[in-house]
């Protein structure tokens, strides 16, 4: 009986300490490992000229005179002689660590470098000199690692196998990411995953507009007269750069969270945000004044304005968190009360440019679409032509009859003197 009691106790002990099944899932995921830079390395970047190199990961494009500046994301700027558009000649590569965005004033290249904006005198291309800078403007986007006493400025991407418990939240939310003490892991190859984790909301500055040169519609830099504008979180900051060697803070104004693009047009400043387009009176460029706004679904939204009409493309994507892909045409004849004229569904519209009633619209994998926009209510019906077979993100006019189209496949130039039949002039491929 004693033995039976002992046995029963043992049995109860076993059953009350029931075992959990063990379940692990092995999966191939993208691993993002941070790259660190100390504050000193960021504040005193080594700017130097190197021989031209292959374009691998183009960011922003800026065109002035016959020179093309193409940002190599995080590394610097390709300088290309585009005098002969059918045969652009790479001249050199200007190394600017942490660069994404570029603009130009006088002899100064305006370029961001991590969280600073540098004014680089390139009158002697062999000896670029940083003449001044606006510091710490995007510092809050960078995560500071207290242990390493350094900022995370980039990441390296690799594909790895990871073993995780089957009930790990990563598997029930496959579009999400997870991270440990060292790396970020994601199902998708999307740098914004890394930004979401290590920064406050992502970092996506864009090209400039409204300056002597030509940039695209995805602008977070803008030049109006002697004033330089850039987006800083929910604010637009205005600097007087009459003397580029000594930029002076002029004004800053809050617009909305997640504003992304600046488009100065005549005496107005159009600001594209993920939830709307904001219109400011810019007759005094030192101090823009709010006029009105036009709200739309959450999306990425380059803006282009011609006459009394604003053209806004809304596109989906991980960063944009939108399910609408469309071109919105907005009547701004009453600038205080913009009104939607028409929405046109598109594949995934991105950058756009308009010249002489002709709209050139990059529609991602659907290519470049060309429309006659003389009647804004009949744009879809008035499609003139399309360039297919490539993914296009941004388009700029390099002359009234020539365009440059940029995408992950390369930089393409077309003669569009006949909009119905664009002719390829040149193609600069992007190295894998």
């Amino acid at each position: 009986m004693k033995k039976f009691g002992l046995f029963t106790m043992l049995l109860l002990l076993m059953l009350t300490s029931c075992q959990d099944d063990e379940c692990k899932t092995s999966k191939e995921v993208f691993q993002y490992d941070p790259v660190y830079k100390t504050l000193e390395e960021i504040e005193k970047p080594e700017i130097k000229v190197d021989i031209s190199r292959a374009i691998k990961n183009p960011g922003k494009v800026y065109y002035i005179g016959n020179t093309l500046f193409v940002s190599e994301i995080g590394e610097g700027v390709h300088i290309i002689d585009n005098t002969d558009k059918s045969n652009p000649v790479p001249l050199s590569f200007l190394e600017i660590p942490g660069n994404i965005d570029v603009s130009f004033r006088g002899n100064s290249l305006i370029a961001d470098s991590y969280f600073n904006i540098l004014f680089i005198d390139i009158s002697d291309l062999d000896n670029p000199v940083v003449t001044s800078s606006i510091n710490d403007i995007k510092k809050q986007y960078y995560h500071f690692d207290k242990e390493k006493e350094a900022y995370i400025v980039d990441y390296t991407l690799s594909k790895v196998h990871r073993d995780l418990p089957c009930n790990h939240p990563f598997f029930s939310n496959p579009n999400r990411y997870y991270y440990d003490d060292v790396s970020v892991y994601s199902n998708v190859k999307d740098g914004n995953v890394f930004n979401d984790v290590f920064t406050e909301g992502g970092f996506s500055p864009n090209t400039s507009g409204g300056s002597p040169g030509v940039a695209g519609s995805n602008s977070s830099f803008a030049l109006v007269g002697d004033y330089f504008y850039f987006i800083h979180r929910s604010e637009v900051e205005v600097y007087n750069i009459t003397d580029v060697d000594s930029p002076i803070f002029s004004h800053g104004f809050t617009v909305d969270w997640n504003i992304e693009t600046l488009f100065p047009y005549e005496d107005k400043l159009f600001i594209g945000g993920r939830t709307g387009m904001y219109i400011y009176d810019n007759s005094d460029p030192s101090e823009p004044v709010y006029l009105s706004e036009f709200n739309h679904a959450r999306a990425c939204d380059p803006v282009f304005v011609v006459g009394k009409t604003a053209y806004v493309t809304l596109s989906s994507g991980t960063r944009c968190q939108n399910f609408n892909n469309q071109l919105d045409v907005i009547d701004i004849s009453n600038i205080l009360a913009p009104v939607l004229i028409e929405s046109y569904p598109m594949y995934r519209p991105k950058g756009l440019s308009i010249y002489d009633n002709t709209l050139f619209l990059c529609d991602d994998k659907a290519g470049l679409k060309i429309f006659d926009v003389s009647d804004n209510t009949m744009i879809k019906e008035n499609k003139l032509s399309a360039i297919k077979g490539h993914t296009f993100i941004e388009v700029i006019h390099t002359s009234p009859t020539e365009i440059m189209v940029i995408g992950p496949d390369g930089i393409f130039q077309y003669d569009v003197s006949d909009n119905s039949n664009p002719k390829l002039l040149s193609q600069m491929n992007i190295e894998d």
Binding site: L10, L11, M14, Q19, D21, E22, K27, E28, V188
Partner: protein, 182 residues
């Protein structure tokens, strides 16, 4: 469930033959043990069940070696079903009419294809079980009761929207077994 019924019928057939054998051997000392048992598989969340047949041969009066086959599910449904095929070792710890005994089984659990509505199916994996129990001796049909531990390894190859996803599971269960030796 169809698989379960088929294997139960198979047990019935094997069991019937086993009885014939044991009758031939009954009388003096038992050289050949036929065993049928029902095993409860208790986990912290899910409970499963397994039916087994074992054929053991006496190496000595206290020590038996043999093989086993069965069918079971680790969540008592048509999912996660395995057919264990094992090498078996069993031995009595004492002499008497009611004796304690031990048993160990090591082998492979073959995963059964799951019903169509379930995407996952495992080819199976290594398994083992061990336990202690008591059994009545001296009668032709000897009932026994046993508690123990059962471990089954299984892998579930799969694909999601982003590529291959291999799920590796170890079913770790305490067991309570009721059976008959004849």
């Amino acid at each position: 469930m169809k698989n379960l019924i088929i294997i139960c019928l198979l047990f019935w057939g094997v069991n019937a033959n086993g009885q014939d054998d044991s009758e031939l051997r009954s009388g003096t000392s038992i050289k050949h043990l036929n065993i049928v048992q029902v095993k409860g598989l208790f986990g912290s969340i899910k409970t499963g069940i397994e039916l087994d047949y074992k054929a053991l041969y006496a190496v000595s009066s206290k020590f038996y070696l043999g093989w086993g086959v069965g069918v079971g599910s680790y969540d008592a449904s048509a999912r996660k079903m395995f057919v264990p095929i094992t090498g078996e070792l069993m031995g009595d710890l004492l002499e008497g009419k009611i004796v304690p005994f031990y048993s160990i089984g090591i082998g492979y659990g073959i995963g059964l294809p799951e019903e169509k509505q379930f995407a996952e199916s495992s080819p199976g994996g290594v398994r083992f079980d061990a336990g202690f129990g008591i059994r009545a001796k001296g009668t032709e049909a000897q009932p026994y009761f046993k508690v123990g531990y059962n471990r089954q390894y299984a892998s579930y190859p799969g694909v999601d929207d982003y590529g291959n996803v291999d799920k590796n599971v170890i079913y770790k269960r305490w067991t309570i077994v009721l059976g008959v030796i004849f």
